[in-house]
C-alpha cells in the first residue's frame, strides 16, 4: 500500500491502496499526476481547487475576500482605539430572579420533538436553551437523538422565522385583528356548508389531534388530512394490504440474526433510525471479546439503488436499479418459500433466480445466499425491511407485500416485526385522500384551508398541482414557523411556536408516551397552533365539541396548556393525585410503562396480487431519489448546521448533485463536478455530478430536500428540487427513465472526502468475522515492537497524578450517522463556514467522520471512522508551537489555549491526523441577532487567526469534576460523557479515565481489536479504535489483502 505505493511508482508496479476515498485512487495514472500530488500535499487551498464556472450566479455564502479586507481594516482601526481604554460593560440583573435559575448553572427540561416523537432534554442557561440531548428515560431516544433533532435548536433562533402574523405580501397585523377577521369568516363557513380542511404533517400528539378533531366538529364538512413522508406512506399501504391495519410496524432489530433491507435505510433515514441503530448494533454487531473463536454476529443484506448509510454498513450489498429491489426481493421470497417447503406463490413464478440475476446483475448465488441465511436464522430471528425513496417505484406497494410475505413466512411477524403492540399507529393519510383534497380544492369545494406546520407547495411533487389548487380556495391560512413556499401563497401566515416554546405531547408508537413543555418564553410574537384554534372557537362562537368546548368557554383556564392538562387527566391521571402525577411527568418527560405485548397478524394472501408481473429492465439511465440524513425532506433547509453536515456516504455539503457510478461516468466521459442536464419528458434540471462507487451502472441518484425558494437566507436556492420529475399519478420517486447530457460547465460540489487526506498511510483496520475467529488480533498490522510506550522517547514522560482521559471508538458500532458532528458543533460553538470555505478545505468541525472504501468500485465495502483530536501522549503539535499555545495537561488532554495562539499553523502542519482547524475568518460573525443566543457560554467563541480542535469537552470534564468534588468523591465511570459520546445511539464512543484500569474505556483499550491510528509514528494517542469486523466470507473482504505489514513506518522513513 503506501510503502508499496512509493516503491511501485519507482518500479512501475502499481498496487492500489486497500482503502480508498474515490475510485480514481485505484489507477496508477492518478498517483503519477503532478497536479494531484500538489493537491494532496496541501491541507488548504487559497482558491477553490479548480477554477469553475458556477451553475448560475456567484456563490454568496460565506465571506468574500474583499469583505474580509474591509472587515480587517475596520477591526484594525477599532483595535487601536479599543485597547487604550477599557470598555464599559453593564451588568443587568433580574428584577425578580426565578427560583430555579442560578447564574452559570444549566437547568435541564425534559420535552419532546413533536416531529419525530423523540424525547429530548433541553439544556437551558439563564432562560435560553443552548443544546438538546436525548432523554435517557424515553423508550425511543434512550439518550440519543439524530443530527436533525440536535440541529433544531438553531431553528428556534433562526432569524428568518415569522415574527408576527401577516397577510399575503408580508403586511403585518396584530393577533387581535387576525383572529377577528378569521373567526368571522370561519363562523360564516360554519353556518354554511362548513367545508374546512386542515392539512398537516403526521401529528404524533394525542392531545393536539383531539383538539383538532373537536375544532373541526364545528364544521359540517370539516376534515383533517395528514401528509405522510413518502417513504413511510408505502409502508403503511403495504401493511393495510397484507395485514389490514394502518400501522408502521415496530422492528426489533436487536433480536434479528439476519436483516434484509430492501431499500430501507433503517440506520439513516427510514423510520425511527436512532432506535433501530442502537438495537441493531447492541443486539449483534459487537463480536464477543472474551471468546473470539465462537464469536457470532448478525448479518445484514442490503438491496438498494443509492448507497445509503445502511448500505454502507451492509455485510453483503446488492447495488441494483430501483426496480431491481423488488425483483431481487421476489426472487429471495421464492427461494425462501421453496426452502421452507411452502408452495411458491404464482406471482413469484416469473422472478426466477436466473431471470432476476440476468436482469439486475446480481449473481444468482448471492440471491440464494441471502435466502439461505434468512431461513437458516430460524423462525422469528430475522427482519425484512422494505421501503424508502430510492426504491419507491410505481410498484412500491408490491415491494412492501413481498417484504410482508417474507416476514410472515419466516415467522418474524409478531416476534421481530411488531404490527400491533408497539407499532406506530400515528400514520398519515393515504395518497388518495391527498389527491381528493386537491381535486376538491380545484373544484371549489373547499371553503377554507388551514395548513399546519406543513409546506405542501414545496413538499408535494409539483405535478400534483397543489399551488394552483390552493389559489382556488377563498381562505388559506398557513400556521407555521415561516412564510415558506406555502405561506407566501396563503392569505394569512400565523407564526406557530417552535416546539421548545410550546406545550404538547407525543404518543408516536405503542408504549411511548412523551410530554412536551416549553423551555423558554416565546422569542417573537408567535402563538401555539392549539391556542389559535381555541382563540378562533372563542371569538367566532364556533360550536366546537368535547373538551375544546369546555376549555374555550372557560375564562380562567382557557389555554392550550389547560387543555393538555385536562386531556392528560382524563387519559392517564384518573387515579391518584393528578398534580403530583403531572409534576412527575414533566420532570421525566415520559410516562414509564411496560412494553406492550404483541401478537402475530395473519398474512392476507390475496395481497400478493400487488406484486407486478416481471417487467424487464429498460436500457439507459433511471433516476433514484433519496433523502439525506442531514436534509431529509428539506423542511429544515434554513439550518446552516445541517447544510454543512457532510453526507455520511458522499461527504458532500451544501448542495445536491447527481450521483453516478464510476463506470457510467467513464462511458459518458464525465468527471466529478461536471454539470449535466437531466431530462424527463420535457422537464430538465442541471446538476453537478458526484462520482459514487457502489451504484448500478444505469442508476443516477439525486437527493430531495433541495431547491427551496422560500426557506430563508441560508436555505434558498441551495441545490435543485428533483421532485419536479415525480409523476403525481404513480407517485414514483425512483425508477424514472431520464436522459443525462453533458453541458460542458463545471460546478464544484463542496465535498470533504478529499480533505485531510492521510497521505495514504494505513489509518484503519477491517477484517472478516472468520479472520477474527481464527486470530482476534488479526487486525494489528503494525509491528508490536513499534507499539506504544515500547519505543524510547527523547521527551520526559508526562505524569498523570489524578485522572487521565482516554477514549475508545468502536468501528463496528459506528454507523456513520453524523449525529455526533452536530452534537459537537452545538456543544463547542463550532462555526459554520459556508460553501466556498468548505471548497477550500476550511470547514471547522472538530469531529469528522471519514469514509473509506475498499474492494471494487462497483460494489465496495465501507468503513466509517470518526476522527477527532487524538490527544497524543507524544503530541507532534505540542513540540512545534512557538508560543506554547498547545500544551499537555496533567490529565492527558492536549490543550489548545486560544488566548496564547498566534496562528502560525505549525501545529496543524505537524498533525498526522489532520484534526486541527484554523479560523481563517471571524466565522462567528455569521450568526446574526437571535442566533447568538445559541452559543454555549461555557466555551470560548474563537476569533479569527487562531487554531482550535477537539478538547475532549474539557468544559464538561470540569463541570463533572466540580460536582464530584462537592460530594467529596472521585468521578464515577461513565458519569462524565463527551458531547459526541452522549448522543451516539450505538455507544460507539466510550470516554473515561484510563488511569483506572477498571473503567469501561480501559477495558476496551485492552480489547483484542484495539488499535491506535498511526501507531508507528509513536504519537501514542489517547484514543483507541476497535477494528471493524465484517460478517462476510473471507475472499470478499477487499482486493488488496494486507500484505504490507510495516507500511507506515517505511513510508515515513
Amino acid at each position: 500500500m503506501s510503502e508499496n505505493l512509493n516503491a511501485g511508482l519507482e518500479t512501475n508496479e502499481f498496487t492500489p491502496p486497500r482503502h480508498w476515498l474515490g475510485a480514481e485512487e485505484l489507477t496508477a495514472s492518478y498517483w503519477n499526476d503532478p497536479a494531484v500530488k500538489e493537491k494532496r500535499a496541501q491541507e488548504f487551498h487559497d482558491k477553490p481547487i479548480e477554477t469553475l464556472e458556477l451553475i448560475e450566479k456567484l456563490d454568496t455564502k460565506g465571506i468574500k475576500r474583499r469583505d474580509f479586507l474591509t472587515l480587517m481594516g475596520a477591526s484594525m482601526a477599532m483595535a487601536s482605539f479599543a485597547c487604550a481604554r477599557r470598555p464599559v460593560h453593564k451588568i443587568i440583573p433580574y428584577v425578580v430572579k426565578p427560583e430555579e435559575v442560578t447564574g452559570g448553572i444549566a437547568n435541564y427540561y425534559a420535552t419532546t420533538c413533536p416531529e419525530t416523537g423523540y424525547g429530548v432534554l433541553a439544556k437551558v442557561r439563564e432562560g435560553r436553551p443552548i443544546k438538546l440531548e436525548g432523554n435517557p428515560e424515553h423508550g425511543m431516544s434512550r439518550g440519543a437523538i439524530s443530527a436533525r433533532v440536535h440541529a433544531s435548536i438553531l431553528d428556534l433562533y433562526d432569524m428568518d422565522r415569522a415574527k408576527e402574523p401577516s397577510r399575503r405580501g408580508g403586511k403585518a397585523l396584530s393577533w387581535e385583528d387576525a383572529d377577528g377577521e378569521i373567526a368571522a369568516k370561519l363562523k360564516q363557513i360554519a353556518a354554511g356548508s362548513g367545508r374546512v380542511r386542515f392539512l398537516s404533517n403526521r401529528m404524533l400528539g394525542d392531545s393536539t389531534l383531539r383538539l383538532t378533531n373537536e375544532f373541526l366538529a364545528a364544521f359540517a364538512g370539516g376534515a383533517h388530512v395528514q401528509l405522510d413522508d413518502f417513504a413511510s406512506g408505502d409502508l403503511v399501504e403495504g401493511q393495510i394490504e397484507s395485514y389490514g391495519n394502518a400501522v408502521i410496524p415496530h422492528y426489533h432489530f436487536g433480536k434479528a440474526d439476519v436483516v434484509l433491507s430492501l431499500g430501507a435505510d433503517f440506520l439513516g433515514n427510514w423510520g425511527s433510525s436512532e432506535e433501530y441503530s442502537a438495537d441493531w448494533v447492541k443486539g449483534g454487531r459487537i463480536p464477543d471479546a472474551k471468546n473470539p473463536a465462537s464469536a457470532r454476529m448478525s448479518k445484514l443484506f442490503v438491496v438498494e439503488s443509492m448507497m445509503s448509510v445502511t448500505g454502507a454498513n451492509a455485510d453483503v450489498r446488492f447495488p441494483v436499479r430501483p426496480d431491481g429491489v423488488l425483483k431481487v426481493a421476489a426472487a429471495i421470497a421464492a427461494e425462501v418459500a421453496r426452502k421452507k417447503g411452502a408452495s411458491v406463490p404464482a406471482q413469484f413464478s416469473a422472478y426466477t433466480l436466473d431471470a432476476v440475476a440476468a436482469d439486475t446483475g446480481v449473481e444468482a448465488a448471492k440471491i440464494k445466499e441471502a435466502a439461505e441465511a434468512l431461513v437458516a436464522a430460524g423462525s422469528g430471528k430475522s427482519i425484512v425491511a422494505a421501503g424508502g425513496l430510492s426504491s419507491k417505484t410505481e410498484d412500491s406497494i408490491g415491494l412492501q407485500v413481498v417484504a410482508n410475505y417474507l416476514n410472515s413466512t419466516l415467522g418474524n411477524e409478531g416476534v421481530t416485526v411488531d404490527g400491533n403492540g408497539q407499532a406506530w399507529t400515528k400514520v398519515g393519510d393515504r395518497a388518495e385522500k391527498v389527491a381528493k383534497l386537491i381535486s376538491d380544492m380545484n373544484a371549489g369545494a373547499v371553503d377554507a384551508l388551514v395548513v399546519v406546520d406543513a409546506n405542501p407547495v414545496y413538499s408535494l411533487p409539483v405535478s400534483l398541482g397543489f399551488a394552483a389548487a390552493m389559489s382556488k380556495v377563498p381562505l388559506v391560512i398557513a400556521i407555521g414557523d415561516r412564510a415558506d413556499e406555502t405561506g407566501s401563497l396563503a392569505h394569512f401566515v400565523l407564526p406557530n411556536h417552535h416546539f421548545l416554546e410550546n406545550w404538547g405531547d407525543a404518543q408516536p408508537r405503542g408504549g411511548v408516551v412523551s410530554l412536551q413543555q416549553p423551555t423558554l418564553a416565546p422569542i417573537h410574537s408567535t402563538r401555539a397552533y392549539q391556542d389559535t384554534l381555541l382563540a378562533w372557537a372563542k371569538k367566532g362562537g364556533l360550536k366546537v365539541k368535547g373538551l375544546a368546548a369546555t376549555i374555550a368557554a372557560s375564562e380562567s383556564a382557557g389555554t392550550w396548556h389547560d387543555y393538555l392538562k385536562a386531556n392528560w387527566k382524563e387519559t392517564y391521571g384518573k387515579s391518584g393525585n393528578f398534580e403530583t402525577f403531572w409534576e412527575d411527568s414533566l420532570r421525566d418527560g415520559v410516562i414509564k410503562s411496560a412494553p406492550k405485548a404483541t401478537s402475530a397478524r395473519s398474512f392476507k394472501v390475496p395481497s400478493l396480487a400487488k406484486v407486478p408481473p416481471f417487467k424487464p429492465a429498460t436500457s439507459g439511465f433511471v433516476l433514484a431519489t433519496y433523502a439525506k440524513t442531514s436534509m431529509g425532506d428539506g423542511n429544515h433547509a434554513n439550518n446552516p448546521w445541517l447544510q454543512e453536515l457532510p453526507d455520511p456516504v458522499t461527504t458532500a455539503t451544501w448542495d445536491n448533485y447527481l450521483n453516478m457510478s464510476p463506470k457510467a461516468a467513464a462511458k459518458m466521459n464525465v468527471v466529478q463536478d461536471d454539470v449535466v442536464t437531466v431530462t424527463l419528458s420535457g422537464t430538465t434540471i442541471d446538476l453537478p455530478v458526484n462520482i459514487q462507487p457502489g451504484l448500478h451502472e444505469n442508476v443516477v441518484a439525486a437527493a430531495i430536500g433541495y431547491g427551496r425558494t422560500a426557506a430563508g437566507k441560508v436555505g434558498n436556492d441551495v441545490g435543485r428540487d428533483v421532485k419536479v420529475f415525480v409523476n403525481g399519478s404513480t407517485m414514483a420517486f425512483s425508477g424514472l427513465p431520464v436522459a443525462v447530457a453533458k453541458t460542458g460547465r463545471r460546478y464544484q460540489i463542496a465535498v470533504t472526502q478529499w480533505h485531510n487526506a492521510t497521505e495514504n498511510r494505513p489509518v484503519l483496520n477491517d477484517i472478516t468475522l472468520a479472520e477474527y475467529k481464527s486470530n482476534s488480533k488479526a487486525s494489528l498490522e503494525t509491528d508490536p515492537e513499534l507499539r506504544l510506550e515500547k519505543v524510547p522517547t527523547m521527551w520526559p514522560k508526562h505524569e498523570y497524578p489524578g485522572y487521565r482521559w482516554g477514549m475508545s471508538i468502536d468501528l463496528n458500532a459506528c454507523t456513520g450517522c453524523g449525529s455526533c458532528i452536530i452534537a459537537c458543533q452545538s456543544e463547542n460553538n463550532t462555526p459554520v463556514v459556508g460553501r466556498d470555505n468548505v471548497r477550500r478545505s476550511r470547514e471547522m468541525h472538530w469531529m469528522r467522520i471519514d469514509r473509506y472504501y475498499s474492494g471494487s468500485p462497483e460494489n465496495p465495502d465501507v468503513v466509517f471512522q470518526p476522527m477527532l483530536c487524538q490527544h497524543c501522549e507524544n503530541a507532534p503539535c505540542e513540540t512545534v508551537c512557538p508560543v506554547l499555545a498547545t500544551v499537555h495537561d496533567d490529565e492527558g488532554l492536549n490543550a489548545q489555549i486560544y488566548n496564547r495562539c498566534v496562528g502560525t499553523r505549525y501545529c496543524q502542519n505537524n498533525c498526522p491526523y489532520k484534526v486541527r482547524r484554523f479560523n481563517f475568518f471571524d466565522h462567528w460573525k455569521s450568526y446574526e441577532g437571535s442566533m447568538n443566543l445559541a452559543w454555549n457560554p461555557d466555551v470560548t467563541v474563537r476569533t479569527r487567526g487562531i487554531m482550535e480542535k477537539c478538547t475532549f469537552c474539557v468544559q464538561r470534564i470540569r463541570d463533572a469534576k466540580d460536582k464530584a468534588k462537592d460530594e467529596g468523591r472521585k468521578l464515577r465511570d461513565l458519569e462524565l460523557k463527551t458531547a459526541c459520546q452522549q448522543t451516539c445511539p450505538t455507544d460507539a464512543i466510550i470516554f473515561g479515565d484510563i488511569n483506572d484500569k477498571k473503567t469501561e474505556v480501559s477495558k476496551l483499550r485492552e480489547d483484542d481489536r484495539a488499535f491506535r491510528v498511526l501507531e508507528v509514528l509513536n504519537t501514542v494517542p489517547s484514543i483507541s479504535y476497535l477494528t471493524k469486523v465484517r460478517n462476510k466470507v473471507g475472499e470478499e473482504a477487499g482486493e488488496g489483502k494486507r500484505e504490507g505489514k510495516k507500511e507506515g513506518e517505511a513510508h515515513h522513513g
Binding site: I92, P93, V95, V96, G104, Y898, N899, T940, R958
Partner: protein, 191 residues
Amino acid sequence: MSKGLSVVVGGVALLIVGYALATVVPRTSNQGYAPTQPIPFSHKIHAGDNKIPCQYCHSDVEKSRHAGIPSTAVCMNCHKVVKTTSPLIQQVRKAWDEGRAIEWVRIHELPDFVYFPHKRHLAAGLACQTCHGEVQTMDKVYQFGALTMGWCMECHRGRSTPSNVLAGIEAKGSPHGPGQAAPTQCTTCHY
C-alpha cells in the same frame, strides 16, 4: 552642543517617548477602577455598618461560577420597610414598580476566554476580601486585585496564598505538588 545639554535633551526625549508608550500601550490590569454606578450603592453601609453577610445578596457564589448581582427583589426585601423615604431608595423603588432592571456598571471583569469559578475558591476557604479587598469599608467599590494572570498564578503557586487556605490544602496533602496551592494547568481556566 554641550554634553550636559544633550543628556538633558535625550532625557526629555526619553520621557516623552516613555509617556507616549505608557498611554498608548494597553494596560492589562484595571486595578483601581471605580466607576460611578447608576445608584450610589454603598457596600460600607450594608456590609460594614449593618454587617449584612456578602452572601445575603451574592447568593450564587457558593453554588456557581458567578457570584451574581442581586435582583431588585433582594433590595426590596428590606427596602420595602427600611429607609423608604430616602431619595436613592426611591430610585430603586421606582425601578421595582416599573419592573425595570437596574443596569449596574461592571467593575470586575475577566476576558471571555477565562473561566473563573467563585464556587471552588470559596470551597477552598478563601474570603471574599482576599480578591475583592475590604469591600465592607468601601462606599464606592473599586477593583482591588489586579486580576491579571500573574496575580492569579501567584496564589495558585502558593506564594500569595492566604496562610489558612494553604494550611488547609497542605493538611489534605496537595494533589498539585508540594507548596502548590491549586492547579496551574492551562485548562484550569482556559477552554
